[in-house]
């Protein structure tokens, strides 16, 4: 008795423990998966920090300390030499600003050498602006150093296999180094310049830099940033939108703030105290800046100095295949710079590829798709031309256009396009749009204040938003507008427009801008780009003026149908230096239309297209999966054993060797075996927890048996067997929809069977329920007994051949119980049978023809009720002295006194004749009043299930 109990408990505890362990394992695995997914990038590389002292300068004898880091792939060694990449940072940055790009490249199998350029960070020396004698020579010494490293692949002694990658300042270095040192195998200059003098002193009618308009905003930021070691536009694409220290945070004035002037930075450089007006700039560079910034005009010496730092003059010496990446949102180095570089390099037959992306010095890295494309192109270029792996990259031209805002993270979304040939800034076709407007007087504000805002340097992605911010000052600009476009135009390249101007001084500085005006009147200045022009020799009257052609900065923009184009000619711009004297110019439209270059690009398939296929595939897979599952289910259904057990064909219910063991190890039914024949009212009798309800649950297909079979009219019963439709059941109490009335509940139930309404026999069922008018009340208001009666009525709907009732008289009053007996007995005629489970013994005795007694999951007796009752060997004695009688009876051999609650003497005579027992009592002087054979089932029940009436549920 004890051992199975503790055994079950042990099993249960074990099972619970097993579940906890399983849950813990799942949690740990999930956490591990998360950590693995979120882990920082692999550490398959090593780094070497080293201050290198190189000798450079015009004579190559001036030592300078460079702060370097070499990233080596984990498997690089003398036996496994790897190609190298020289990764240069942007102006104001350090080797640390390109760390992320270096890690990307080293992961691709390159040794990456980053260094802080002279004049920045911990490196020594002064800033010479990528001077061939200084910065470029430093880089040549780094090539020497690389060639000496045992891990670096070399083409010949002293000639490492190396590519040079850099953005902005680093891009300029890449171009100049490739021109100066033929050991460079490939370069990827990004967002960089062709002619530094033109970049800072642009003029859009083709005049030389000495006549250029000084781009004071950008110049000031760089001059300020050169004094300390901030992080500038650096790294691949120079695309980090990080601000250099001392640069205005966003929409502040584009010139250095008071705290960011030259030399005001921390001055971490080892040079110590320097000229406070020049910071770490070399004296000649500093002097040139001071001269230009003071007057707003560049003298020839200053222009020469800037051109010395420009690739423009040395492009024909570049033999390394070049991938030029240029930003569309770049008011510092616009697309024209890359265009000039591309034409110059390609002229000598060197492979050149051009890519435009929607970022730049203003736009940052651009949308994710753009930085992904740039990274891909860079890797492809280096892999082929430096590592020697992969097919030759084509020279097709890729560019992208802002398509709108991302719906999720509010970032920009760009669409990529490609064409086979680089069309230049003039496009492959052009569209002419007439812009008209009267001649308008425009005032030049004294000292350029107030000034129009077109762009804010370092505004990052904000720059694109300035489309809406860009403002022109009333009275300081002239407008010329087109009619609404009847079809959309994809502008790719530099538009041109002709204007006429008159000035009382004969000279004018003007800013020409092209706005996209939507039907609501909102005007957008693409990427904040403007074309500054300086006109001289102007007449006093506009009628006498000759038209001049203005080439505007290259843009990539779709002008939608219905939009207008507006050409604005303004006299001031915050980003530029304008003449200090107040003047009034007159501006008129030129003699020709506005010309818009267009390129018919083919959209680059993005991952989005892949996802569309994934979606289609997923849907197809689900459909196929569903079909397969349904087919398998049908097949299994067809294969199901449908044979009728011949022996049981006429038997309403046969239960064979039923066993049910729950997942927690509890055995509810260990062995149950009985039959219900037509005409029988079978009672399933047992104490609470004996396994009656579990047996019925299995019988109704609610629970899967662990072992054993059930046959209903010979059909094997499994959950959902059609033969269940011939069984009406009340199991574990009624179950009704509380918001429906009794009648509606019965109807709803019958509708769910899908059988004809005529087969239901509602009237008879309702008669049994005997609910009267209450049948129209909601069941939630029913009493327990009413619900019970309704449930019995529901079980009888359709007059099933086997009626299974679990504790049917629960909640019924005595007259109803009596009536129920009669109903059940009548029901079990005409081939039908009834199975009633109950723990009320009297009920079974009075109602049932047959009974099965279950205890602790086992059948302890079965058969006709009379037989079971007849088996009872006990006798009830009413005696004068029960105590004395007990002692007498105890002496008798085999006779056993059963314990009885109310002091009566119940005796198991166990074969001894009753007369003998009576005689024995009388002999002992005990008066015997009555001797009643205990023929009641209760005794039989007690006798069969044992004295301990505790339910098997407690086992």
């Amino acid at each position: 008795m004890r051992s199975p109990l503790s055994g079950a408990r042990v099993r249960r505890v074990l099972s619970t423990r097993r579940r906890i362990v399983a849950a813990a394992v799942v949690v740990v695995l999930l956490a591990a998966a998360l950590v693995w997914l979120a882990r920082p990038g692999g550490d398959g590389f090593r780094t070497e920090f080293a201050p290198l002292t190189v000798r450079s300068g015009p004579a190559g004898d001036e030592p300078v300390d460079l702060d370097t880091t070499l990233y080596l792939p984990g498997d690089a060694s003398a036996a496994n030499r790897v190609p190298a990449v020289l990764l240069a940072h942007g102006f104001g940055g350090t080797k640390d600003s390109v760390r992320a790009d270096a890690e990307d490249l080293v992961a691709r199998g390159y040794a990456v050498l980053t260094w802080t350029a002279r004049g920045f960070g911990r490196s020594g020396g002064q800033i010479h602006l990528d001077n061939p004698d200084y910065e470029i020579r430093d880089a040549q010494r780094l090539l020497d150093w690389l060639a000496d490293r045992p891990e670096i692949r070399t083409d010949s002694a002293g000639d490492p296999r190396v590519g040079v990658v850099g953005g902005s300042y680093g891009g300029g270095l890449a171009l100049l180094l490739a021109a100066q040192d033929q050991r460079v195998d490939a370069i990827v200059p990004m967002i960089t310049w062709n002619d530094l003098s033109r970049a800072f002193l642009p003029e859009s009618t083709g005049r030389p830099a000495t006549d250029g308009v000084f781009k004071k905003g950008w110049a000031g930021i760089f001059f300020g940033g050169g004094g300390n070691a901030g992080s500038g536009p650096a790294g691949i694409g120079g695309t980090s939108a990080a601000l250099p220290e001392g640069a205005p945070a966003s929409a502040g004035p584009p010139s250095p703030g008071p705290g960011a002037g030259p030399g005001s930075g921390p001055g971490r450089g080892p040079t110590g105290a320097a000229d406070p007006s020049c910071g770490r700039f070399a004296a000649d560079v500093c002097a040139a800046y001071l001269r230009i910034a003071t007057t707003g005009r560049a003298d020839q010496a200053a222009v020469d100095l800037l051109r010395r730092s420009s690739p423009a003059g040395v492009l024909d010496r570049i033999k390394a295949p070049t991938l030029l990446v240029q930003g569309e949102a770049d008011t510092l180095f616009p697309l024209a710079e890359a265009d000039a570089n591309a034409r110059g390099i390609a002229a000598t037959g060197t492979p050149v590829r051009i890519a435009w992306f929607t970022g730049g010095h203003d736009g940052g890295a651009g949308p994710q798709t753009d930085s992904d494309r740039v990274k891909f192109l860079t890797a492809q270029w280096l892999d082929h031309y430096v590592k020697g792996a992969g097919a030759a990259p084509g020279n097709d031209f890729t560019f992208s256009r802002i398509a709108g805002f991302d719906a999720l993270d509010r970032g920009l979304v760009a669409t990529g396009y490609r064409t086979t040939d680089y069309p230049g800034l003039a496009g492959t076709a052009r569209r002419e749009v007439a812009v008209t407007g009267p001649a308008q007087p425009v005032a030049n504000p004294p000292n350029g204040n107030p000034a129009a805002i077109s762009s804010v340097p370092f505004a990052g992605a904000l720059g694109s938003l300035l489309d809406g911010v860009a403002g022109d000052i009333p009275g300081q600009h002239a407008r010329f507008e087109s009619a609404p476009l009847d079809e959309a135009v994809d502008v790719v390249g530099a538009p041109t427009v002709r204007i006429r101007a008159a000035s009382p001084t004969g000279e004018a500085v003007l800013f020409v801008k092209l706005y996209d005006v939507d039907p609501n009147g909102a005007a957008a200045l693409p990427d904040g780009l403007v074309a500054p022009v300086r006109l001289t020799g102007l007449p006093k009257s506009v009628d006498a003026a000759t038209p001049v052609e203005v080439t505007m900065p290259g843009i990539v923009r779709r002008i939608e149908a219905g939009h207008r184009l507006r050409v604005v000619v303004a006299t001031s711009d915050q980003a530029y230096t304008t003449p200090a004297e107040p003047t009034v110019y007159t501006v008129a439209a030129g003699d020709g239309p506005l010309t818009l270059p267009t390129v018919a690009g083919e959209p680059i398939p993005t991952t989005a297209a892949v996802w569309r296929w994934v979606l289609a595939g997923l849907l197809a897979a689900i459909v196929v999966g569903l079909v397969v599952v349904v087919l398998l289910a049908r097949r299994r259904h067809r294969r199901q054993d449908r044979s009728v057990h011949p022996e049981y064909a006429g038997v309403p219910l046969v239960v064979r060797d039923l066993r049910k063991e729950y997942a927690d190890g509890f055995v509810a039914v260990s062995h149950v075996d009985f039959e219900v024949h037509p005409g029988q009212v079978m009672g399933l009798l047992g104490p609470n927890g004996a396994g009656k309800t579990t047996t019925l649950r299995v019988l109704m297909g609610l629970t899967q048996p662990t072992a054993g079979e059930i046959y209903v009219f010979g059909h094997r019963l499994v959950p959902g067997s059609p033969v269940l439709s011939r069984i009406g059941a009340l199991v574990e109490g009624p179950g009704f929809l509380p918001h429906l009335s009794g009648l509606e509940n019965l109807k709803a139930y019958w509708r769910a069977t899908g059988r004809p309404a005529a087969d239901a026999h509602f009237e008879q069922a309702l008669e049994i329920a005997g609910l009267g008018d209450s049948v129209h009340r909601k069941t939630r208001k029913y009493s327990h007994g009413m619900r019970q009666r309704l449930a019995i009525a529901q079980a009888m709907l359709g007059l099933p051949e086997l009626l299974v009732l679990d504790e049917p008289t629960d909640g019924l009053d005595p007259p109803q119980i009596a009536e129920m007996r009669r109903v059940l007995q009548r029901y079990a005629t005409g081939g039908r049978a009834v199975l009633v489970s109950s723990h009320l013994l009297a009920e079974v005795e009075q109602t049932c023809t047959h009974a099965v007694v279950v205890n602790k999951g086992r059948i302890v007796a079965s058969g006709p009720v009379e037989e079971i009752v007849g088996e009872s060997p006990s006798v009830l004695f009413e005696v004068s002295d029960p105590e004395a009688a007990r002692t007498v009876l105890d002496r008798l051999d085999g006779v056993r006194v059963l314990p009885d609650g109310d002091g009566q003497l119940v005796v198991d005579t166990n074969g001894t004749a009753r007369s003998e027992v009576v005689a024995e009592l009388v002999r002992a002087g005990i008066g015997v009043d009555r001797v009643v054979p205990r023929r009641r089932l209760e005794d039989a029940f007690l006798a069969l299930v044992g004295e301990n009436s505790r339910g098997s549920g407690d086992r």
Partner: protein, 305 residues
Amino acid sequence: MAGSSVGASEGAGSSGAGAPGTGGAARGYRPSATLPFAAEFRRQASRRRTQLALGFMVLLPIIILIAFQFESGDDDGNGRGEFASLADLATSGGLNFTLFSILVSASFLLVVVVALFCGDTVASEASWGSLRYLLAVPVPRARLLTVKLVVALAYSLLALLLLAGTALLAGTLRYGWSPLRSQVAAELAPGEGVLRLLAVLGYLAVVLLVVAGLAFLLSVTTDAALGAVGGAVLLWILSSILDQITALGALRDFLPTHYSSAWLGLLSTPVQTDDVVRGAISAISYATLFWALAYWRFTRKDVTS
């Protein structure tokens, strides 16, 4: 029960063992005819919670409409984000009003409603005890789930359409039939606007499949209807919270709520479908997984309620 005379005489003839159907079924019983769609639809329609939920879908746009009437003229320039812009534009026309109604209900109200319809359907039957009688009919378990699921989805869709339909009707009556405006796109002509609106509704319906799947899975695993509904809503909220934590990086892409607002892309010109497609993949994958688990679980489990 008085004087009932059920039994022998009538019973034997009508239902008797005379002509059993296939598999020994009772006459007229076909597994595929059990629990007809219409029967289940009526079962659910008669429930107070169904009527309340659908009624609220009609009421909400009208409440919003009335609330807009109280709007004081001064605009405090809360021009931040898409929500503010849509709120500002809500009174510009029927289409924009509909869009606003959808926006305010998409993140929570619709989630609750869908979770209610899908989470309550099986669990409530289990808690009433009527589930075991349906299974004893017998309604095949897979059929029971399919009918329940289809009806729950039908009610969810009905709720969505009722909300949008009422909003469109009320908004158009009040604010007129004008183009759809939004911050991310230019004006859309009313015809085009209706199409965009339908696309938005379609995408929302797809995203809400995750809730439907989760609630349904919980519904078959628990007998407590409240647990199933609340659990689904809770997990949805948890996912939304996690989605706010940018430190999770790419992991967020796997959260079922990550793409729940991608429908905003359907308003821009040109239409941005990338995130919509990814969102649909995510939602359909999750929903399929949850439903598959629900079927797997329910067709095997012991119904003990």
